[in-house]
């Protein structure tokens, strides 16, 4: 294991530059790819429902429109309304930059820790929840309350599922986890992996606000979770929140893809490797996103108080996965 990890640690200035380059490419790729994934999911849903649907690039076009508008803010808002969208984008970017999405050699690969990614996602969640409370409206606060309730149970499930992976690979270092998966293709069929995969899929659906946890296309304030928090965002602020959320989606789907199905990820850190990784990542995340969209068409939104039961199920699956990993080691 030590050997596998030490190969991922970039050495020298050229290695550092290559790492920075790879990370910048990852951030740009996910910032563009995330909205495309959102567009793809909407497209798949539309097709499955028998509609033609908007083009896949619709979210990007919306973003282009939003950044040109004025930033209208509500009365009573504080500096939080200014900061929160930026912090969301920044924390998502850092998490993307250090994750092994295109290559297993992003910048500072030694310190790229899976727990750190979980806590960086928490930064975004807290920023959004505070944003929802900042204007002092009924809907914003309701959205924050619901989002934190869902988050209070999905974060533990995420962390426990992550621990299951870390126990099996004996490290929580992200590049180390991916190289370990590459080295042991048989792990994919192990019970602890499958349990952790199911738990993670449920958590990803909750964290990205998809059905059956939250309905991203709802227009009724009373049923909103995520949308209620950002009701007061307009123009560039809304564009940043959308990008930040799309990056979280891209990151989570990308991690899901590379941790469980690592094939195609660039292990060399060279340009061809990174380009290959980009193709593989795009294909894998598009597939997962399409699958989620297909499931969404055929599911109804859960009652808010049934959501914790679903997430508690994911948490228990995670615990069982850790136990299985401990027993089978």
């Amino acid at each position: 294991m030590t050997g596998a990890l030490s190969t991922t640690v970039a050495s020298g200035t050229s290695g550092l530059l290559a790492g920075i380059g790879a990370s910048v490419l990852q951030v740009i790729g996910v910032a563009v790819g995330g909205p495309l994934l959102l567009g793809l999911m909407a497209k798949v849903r539309a097709r499955a429902e028998g509609r033609r649907g908007a083009p896949v690039t619709q979210v990007l076009a919306d973003l282009r429109k939003l950044v040109r508008k004025e930033a209208v803010r509500a009365h009573h808002t504080s500096v939080v309304s200014l900061l929160a969208p930026r912090v969301l984008v920044a924390s998502s970017s850092v998490a993307v930059a250090m994750s092994p999405l295109l290559t297993t050699r992003p910048v500072a690969a030694r310190g790229a820790d899976l727990f750190a990614v979980v806590f960086l996602l928490l930064v975004g969640s807290v920023a959004l929840a505070l944003l929802g409370l900042d204007a002092g409206t009924a809907f914003g606060g309701m959205g924050s309350s619901r989002a934190m309730t869902v988050g209070a149970i999905s974060e533990p499930a995420l962390l426990v599922a992550v621990v299951a992976l870390a126990v099996q690979s004996q490290t929580s270092n992200l590049p180390g986890l991916v190289t370990a998966s590459l080295a042991h293709p048989g792990w994919l069929a192990s019970p602890q992996r499958l349990l952790a995969l199911v738990a993670l899929v449920i958590v990803v659906i909750a964290e990205t606000g998809r059905l059956p946890v939250d309905n991203p296309s709802t227009h009724l304030e009373l049923t909103m979770i995520h949308e209620a928090m950002i009701l007061e965002c307009a123009g560039p602020d809304l564009a940043l929140v959308t990008v930040g959320e799309a990056m979280r989606l891209g990151l989570l789907l990308g991690l899901l893809a590379n941790l469980f199905f690592p094939w195609g990820v660039g292990v060399s850190g060279s340009l061809p490797g990174i380009l290959g990784g980009m193709g593989a990542l795009a294909a894998k995340t598009a597939l997962v996103a399409a699958l989620i969209a297909v499931v969404e068409v055929s599911t109804a939104k859960l009652r808010l108080f049934r959501v914790p039961e679903l997430l508690a199920g994911a948490f228990v699956l995670g615990i069982v996965a850790v136990t299985t990993a401990l027993v089978s080691r």
Binding site: S78, R86, S93, D113, F119, L122, S125, S144, R146
Partner: protein, 677 residues
């Protein structure tokens, strides 16, 4: 040098108490505050030198205590606790000057804070059973009196009764345990006890450990010995609550470490599994109640129970790993636990001072009546925000560093292949995960409902920024949170010295090959796998914020659209949003409370008054809800009820009749004679 600085600091803090008691009204606060701050600074320097150099010092003062004399010895373990206490004390002393400026506390109240502080600086230095017990009891008494400063309120008196009872039951258990230890180890000095511990039989050592654990865990506020904590900590004045939650609960942790690991040498596996189990229960219970609380200081107090639980999980896991022969892994976990304790002192001190500032400025600490304080008290909002985000564990602040270390310690502890230990460690991982989510909810509520939005009452609307000295006190601790969060690697080697103190005594376990964390700016567990660089994460996030700002500037926009416009918030077509429509802390916590209704068991009362004309038209609806402590209701209430009943029965016995008393005397005499015969 370090001894002089420490003793000087102790003396100065004592002198501050004296000054507070004798100076006239106007000078009293400033004199006591400045002197106490100087004393803390000196103690910080003295103990800090012990921690950095690793050289301990010993002082014996024969004149202070009759028969035994006062024995003091500051080693790295004690020094870590003294430094932590002194740091919180320094901030609280600055803060107290401004805090008391309006209320004009009396002589006793002014003298109590430095006195309480001095006793807490003394406890970790005590080096014999007699000195320790005296220091411990002084700490209990001064803190009890400090809780009673605002004694005119009935709930304060109730809290003090709970605290007084619990702390003395705990002190009695400690007294019994330590006396048992001293009689069987052939002396009362800690050094003598530590060198004779092999002669103790295992059952006796276990009895001693369980006794002191009861005492120390009740001081630390571990469930089920916690009910006094969420009562007493909120009822004390702002700086005192900060000292109690930031420094005094640590003394319980210190006691467990000193007696369990240092004096008894680590003992048996099950001791530490019990400690970890206490930690798991405390952390989950505290976090749940913090998430459901609507009283700002009560929320903070329950969060203290939660964090003490996390520390105990670390200590218990560490003790279990060392007891089963894994010193390297145990040390990592213990380092994580002690680092978390230091961090908790910083952010909880900061948060309690912030809550005190809110109460000082608005007259209330009920979150349902607060709101909109960020615009009225910007400095307090920033420092409270830093504390709240730190306790939530966001990268770049100190809570993240120690929670990450704790998770890594638990994760690496899985390598031991002992089923019971692994089960407890797994429980620890699950607990850290669950409390993380709940703590985020609790502190988003505290920060978001308390400081953002619109004021929910006239009190909150009238809030004004507090005095500069109070802001300085809070900012000191918030600054500590930032520094330890960005470059945690700088202080970890120092904390590791305290770990080494309790570690060297377990001779049966092979020595560790390297310190648990490599020195550097970030956290690097080499030779174990795992590293994270918080400084890089912070730099990345700052770069991201700047990049987002720069990219938005690059977008071509019409000039009039660049101006910031403010307008009404979206209200479903309604024109004006009032504070009455805003979400309250109660409603914010409602979904979570419903999810965990089985544990929290809220009491809910909805009364609907109908209009006289028709029962289909409600005239008024009143809603009451309170979340009582389930442990208190299930365990303590029946016990208290029984004691009260017996007490009332016993009251009938002495009815004032001299004949009856003479009969009692005769009966007792006969009984004694029968027994002796």
């Amino acid at each position: 040098m370090s001894a002089t600085a420490y003793l000087g600091g102790l003396g100065t803090a004592g002198a501050a108490a004296l000054l507070g008691a004798i100076l006239p009204d106007r000078r009293r606060l400033l004199g006591a505050g400045v002197l106490a701050a100087v004393g803390c600074l000196a103690a910080l320097v003295g103990a800090g030198e012990v921690l950095v150099s690793g050289r301990s010092f010993t002082v014996h003062v024969a004149a202070v205590l009759p028969l035994a004399g006062l024995d003091l010895r500051v080693d790295a373990l004690g020094a870590l606790f003294i430094v932590t206490t002194a740091a919180v004390g320094l901030a609280a002393s600055c803060y107290a000057v401004g805090y008391g400026a309006h209320a004009r506390p009396g002589r006793t109240a002014t003298a109590l804070q430095p006195a309480f502080l001095a006793t807490m600086l003394l406890v970790p230095a005590a080096a014999s059973v007699a000195s320790f017990l005296v220091a411990w009891e002084l700490m209990a008494l001064t803190s009890l009196l400090a809780v009673l400063i605002e004694h005119r309120r009935p709930e304060t008196r109730d809290a003090a009764q709970w605290y007084g009872a619990m702390t003395h039951i705990g002190a009695a258990a400690i007294l019994l345990g330590l006396l048992l230890l001293a009689t069987h180890a052939g002396g009362q000095g800690f050094a003598v006890i530590a060198s004779h511990r092999r002669q103790l039989s295992a059952p006796l050592a276990s009895v001693v450990f369980v006794l002191v654990l009861v005492g120390f865990a009740s001081k630390a506020g571990a469930v089920p010995l916690h009910p006094w904590l969420p009562r007493a900590h909120p009822q004390a004045p702002g700086p005192i609550s900060a000292l109690m939650s930031g420094a005094m609960v640590n003394m319980g942790v210190y006691g467990i470490l000193r007696v369990g690991r240092d004096l008894l040498g680590g003992g048996e596996l099950w001791w530490w599994l019990v400690v970890a189990a206490l930690g798991i229960v405390s952390a989950v219970f505290g976090a749940l109640h913090a998430a459901a609380s609507t009283d700002l200081k009560r929320l903070l107090a329950y969060s203290t129970v939660d964090n003490v639980g996390l520390v105990l999980i670390g200590l218990g896991g560490a003790g279990a790993l060392v007891a089963s022969g894994h010193r390297q892994l145990g040390d990592l976990l213990e380092l994580a636990a002690l680092f978390h304790m230091v961090n908790h002192a910083l952010f909880k001190g900061c948060l309690f001072l912030g809550a005190g500032a809110v109460q000082h400025a608005t007259g209330t600490r009920d979150l349902d009546r607060l709101g909109g304080l960020a615009r009225r008290m910007p400095a307090t909002a920033v420092v409270f925000g830093i504390g709240a985000l730190a306790i939530t564990g966001l990268p770049g602040l100190n809570g993240f560093a120690s929670e990450w270390l704790l998770l890594q310690g638990l994760l690496h502890g899985f390598g031991t292949h002992s089923a019971v230990t692994e089960a407890v460690l797994l429980g620890g991982v699950a607990t850290v995960a669950v409390t993380g989510g709940l703590t985020a909810t609790a502190f988003v509520k505290a920060l978001g409902v308390g400081f953002l939005g619109q004021p929910r009452s006239g009190d909150a609307a009238g809030g004004r920024e507090v005095a500069a000295s109070m802001v300085v006190g809070m900012a000191l601790l918030a600054g500590g949170c930032v520094v330890l969060g960005v470059v945690p690697g700088v202080v970890l080697p120092v904390v590791d010295r305290a770990v080494a103190v309790v570690d060297h005594v377990v001779a049966t376990v092979p020595a560790r090959s390297a310190p648990p964390v490599r020195s550097g700016l970030g956290l690097d567990l080499a030779p174990l796998q795992g590293a994270v660089e918080p400084a890089l994460l912070v730099m990345g996030m700052l770069a991201g914020i700047v990049a987002a700002w720069g990219l938005l500037r690059l977008v071509p926009r019409q000039a009039e659209l660049r101006a910031r416009r403010r307008t009404e918030a979206w209200g479903c077509g309604r024109e004006v949003q009032t504070a009455r429509m805003e979400i309250t802390a109660t409603s914010f916590a409602e979904p979570l409370q419903r999810v965990f209704a089985d544990v929290l068991r809220p009491d809910r009362d909805v009364e609907v008054t109908h209009a006289a004309e028709s029962r289909y038209f409600p005239e008024a609806i009143t809603f009451h809800q309170r979340v009582d402590d389930a442990v208190e209701r299930a365990v303590y209430r029946p016990v208290i009820g029984t004691v009260e009943r017996w007490g009332n029965l016993a009251r009938r016995v002495p009815n004032g009749s001299v004949h009856r008393y003479l009969a009692f005397g005769l009966a007792a005499l006969v009984l004694i004679l029968v027994v002796l015969a």
